[in-house]
Amino acid sequence: MIINKLQLNSPDDVGSGMPRPPQARPGIRRRELMLTTATTLLFSTHAVLARVVQDSLPWEQNAGSPPTEATPGPWTYFTAEEGATVEALVDRLIPPDPQTPGGKDAGCAVFIDRQLAGPYGTAEELYMRGPFADGTPQQGNQSPLTPAVRYREALAALDKYCRATYAGRSFTQIPDNDKDKLLSGLEKGQVHLEGTSGRAFFELLLQNTQEGFFADPVYGGNRNMVGWKMIGYPGARYDYRDWVDRHNERYPLPPVGITGRPEWVRKAQ
């Protein structure tokens, strides 16, 4: 998702990421390999061109690609209507309570939006060659739909279903009780959406919502680390040597994320 994107780069894209040739030891093999013009890169951003490693470890700046922070601001994939619907959906899957915000205020919809706008949304890393056929549940998802397309189709079908069922109202306008009944119907396969699988959409939405609630805040969800605070998870800490044999004691330090404590960093949207 973040690195090693499947993409076809133009030669211009390659420039800065091209690894410097190692200190050359003469040899035709080396030159032939290293001087090959790279026109097509598969599964790569920078620094992952075919290369020769010899003599020393090939240290390279940012070889592992640090994560890209979710950008603040408006929706990147959803339309305004879609975004509002997803906010309403995630707030029923994870409702607010007196201690912890719900999915909407935790940023789950923002998280999903940013994920769908990236390589996850387009399923570009998955095997998407045909023929596509329905299999057994044990054979896994065989749909040609990417996550982004599935959201788009299902949200449109959900809107149509709501307006037909609830006197012209959208999902955002119906009472929580009806929202929950509808979600439960999708989960059980009892509510059918036109032209798309309501159940498959529900499963994807539930998975992505929980991801948005518990993933590192750098991706736009888990805002203020509410998901981590709720369960007592200290986040991206790296050293518990003093604590491993302190049994049955609550760990005292608050969570940290990849970008630090929530009050130190800007927030997405």
């Binding site: 061109l49 070889a63 201690q99 044990q138 998802n141 979600l183 993933a215 518990y240 604590w243």
Partner: protein
């Protein structure tokens, strides 16, 4: 059209654990060695810095360190009567990619197999009679004994610095270790890791019941350790990001932390990364490998001639490359003939989820291989006569992680969403505990790999097709093992617990382990094995095939220690026998 490169002495396909071990051992003989690796170069400081290594979404949920299914996948079906369909997104197992291979992202559980595991067929037949085994079970002896492999287990563990407590040193049972293990020559290189609360409670309960608990042998080190290559690992800090992740601490044994810094300085070694081997080439006789053809990221094809080819890719890809290269006779389950794709096997895991009212386990204080285990129900350590199955597994409290997307378990009956779910997650995160069994998997006539008739990869090669389901023997075993585990868990005093034995059918979407095995197995008979006891191809004597590919069936342990030991065993045979007189090392 592939452009031909000047020949090299040794060509290694895949630079993970086995490729690194073979390259290092053979480089000392002065041979020119080229390793071709499909994925990128990876190193600790550049690729898994603690600044962002602890990213559950990126590495665990989105599979960042693994092969992309778009690059290569397999098709799968439970039985031959079904149509296999592609595994479009990884689930049950996680095929590695890149330098270090699975050694980058394993949990580092470093177990030896039992002596009887290597003679499973003979041992079980002698003890229970031939009729005790199901008729379609195809388990075999390995063609090698534990005693022969012991020095190489020792070598791999001392390379890694494995932390543990010996249970049997030269036949003397040691207090605090695993009394069932085969005799080892000496103590582990480093003492066991510290144990958190859950494993400590489990060990006490097990001890009270008369079992002999011991610390799980760990490749995440309890203290700093300098290995025989002069490379130093640091102590594990119990961060709980091991499996699916690279270690940013130099604490987890991997090719990066134990071999590569020494290997890469050998003047006669070079690695080519982001280069994918398309096939192994044969001469006109079909009996000799002439090298490989590979493609680089520019789409250029290269032919790399070599005198000796070492196939060191991950198990599934070794079998795939043999099939697409036309090496060895493909297995035909109807005729029960052929060897490539035969005896595919896996691992049978299960769990007991327990929920407590008065305990705080701090599950995030973890290492991929801490934990307290018992081995009373592994291998043939107990009498199978009354039970009607063979095989077994270790079990215990193994605290690998507290990452929230993976470990927010809720009691049975809890809704999957909504306020009730949220409250259950908040209430149980710190106070639930999952104990596990790690069981063996026998091989069967109708479980195998071959080439798929329909689906292809981006180069037009046929995908490999896996036909696999759990058999009754394994499901009975899991039922029995999980029941014994539940008794220990109950003694730990939970409010409630749920016993979750493995049930069929096998589901390729649910992560279990990455311990896929077999498909080109070692043995004593070329009719039923692809490799001889030195992991040398019976058909092509200048080709050796490493990894769990060679396991005739899987034992009730994690495979890496045995994979490492077999690599050293094969390297020794190549250096001491093959190079002096190239040709078949076993005459038939």
């Amino acid at each position: 059209m592939a452009r031909k490169l000047p020949a090299t002495d040794v060509l290694i396909v895949g630079l993970g654990w086995t490729g690194s071990i073979l390259a290092h051992e053979l480089a000392r003989s002065g041979l020119n060695i080229v390793a071709i690796e499909r994925g990128p170069w990876r190193d600790t400081a550049t690729d898994f810095p603690p600044a962002y290594a602890q990213d559950e979404l990126r590495y665990h949920i989105r599979h960042d360190l693994f092969l992309r299914p778009a690059q290569l996948t397999m098709t799968f079906r439970n039985r031959a009567s079904e149509t296999a369909l592609p595994i479009r997104s990884w689930g049950s197992f996680m095929p590695p990619n890149g330098v270090g291979g699975g050694g980058v992202h394993w949990n580092a559980e470093t177990w030896r197999f039992l002596p009887s595991d290597f003679q499973m067929k003979t041992h079980l037949t002698e003890r229970y009679g031939e009729k005790f085994l199901p008729g379609d079970m195809t388990i075999q002896d390995w063609g090698i004994t534990y005693d022969e492999l012991e020095p190489y287990y020792d070598k791999f563990e001392y390379l890694c610095g494995t932390s543990g407590k010996a249970g049997n040193i030269k036949g003397q049972i040691q207090t605090g270790g695993n009394p069932f293990e085969g005799a080892r020559a000496r103590e582990y290189p480093t003492p066991p890791q510290k144990q958190p609360y859950g494993p400590t409670l489990f060990a006490q309960a097990a001890k009270d019941m008369g079992y002999k608990p011991f610390p799980q042998p760990s490749g995440n080190l309890s203290q700093a350790y300098t290995n025989p290559l002069g490379i130093t690992l640091g102590p594990c800090t119990y961060c709980g990001f091991c499996e699916w992740f690279g270690c940013g601490n130099y604490s987890k044994a991997s090719p990066q932390t134990t071999i590569l810094p020494a290997l890469v300085r050998q003047p006669n070694f070079e690695a080519r990364t982001q280069c994918e081997v398309l096939k192994i080439n044969l001469d006109g006789s079909g009996k000799r490998a002439t090298g490989v053809t590979y493609v680089d990221t520019s789409g250029n094809e290269w032919e790399q001639p070599a005198d000796l080819v070492l196939l060191c890719a991950f198990q599934l890809f070794n079998v795939h490359l043999l099939l697409v290269s036309g090496i060895g006779k493909p297995y035909d389950p109807r005729a029960n003939e052929g060897v490539i794709g035969r005896n595919y096997s896996y691992q049978v895991t299960s769990s007991v989820d327990a929920f407590f009212d008065d305990k705080i386990f701090n599950p995030f204080i973890a290492s991929g291989s801490i934990g307290m285990c018992i081995d009373e129900f592994n291998g043939d350590n107990f009498d199978h006569g009354p039970h009607g199955f063979v095989g077994g597994g270790y079990m215990g409290a193994v605290q690998t992680n507290g990452r929230p997307l993976q470990t927010t378990r809720t009691p049975k009956g809890t809704p999957r969403w909504g306020l009730e779910w949220k409250e259950a997650v908040a209430k149980n995160y710190l106070s639930n505990y999952e104990a596990v069994t790690h069981g063996s998997c026998c091989s069967y006539r109708d479980v195998y790999c071959d080439l798929d008739p329909t689906y292809t990869d981006r180069f037009g090669r046929k995908l490999m097709r896996i036909t696999f389901d759990f058999h009754e023997n394994e499901l009975k075993m899991s039922q029995y093992l999980t029941g014994r585990l539940a008794e220990v868990v109950q003694k730990m005093g939970p409010r409630q617990f749920e016993t979750k034995p493995r049930r069929g059918p096998y589901d390729v979407t649910v992560y279990q382990t990455t311990h896929t095995c077999g498909g080109a197995i070692m043995g004593a008979d070329p009719k039923s094995s692809a490799l001889n006891r030195y992991l040398q191809s019976w058909d092509v004597s200048n080709l050796f095939v490493m990894g769990a590919t060679a396991f005739p069936q899987n034992a009730g342990y994690n495979p890496t220690d045995t994979v490492g030991a077999l690599a050293y065993w094969a390297a020794d045979a190549i250096v001491k026998q093959y190079l002096k007189s190239p040709g078949p090392l076993v005459q038939i």
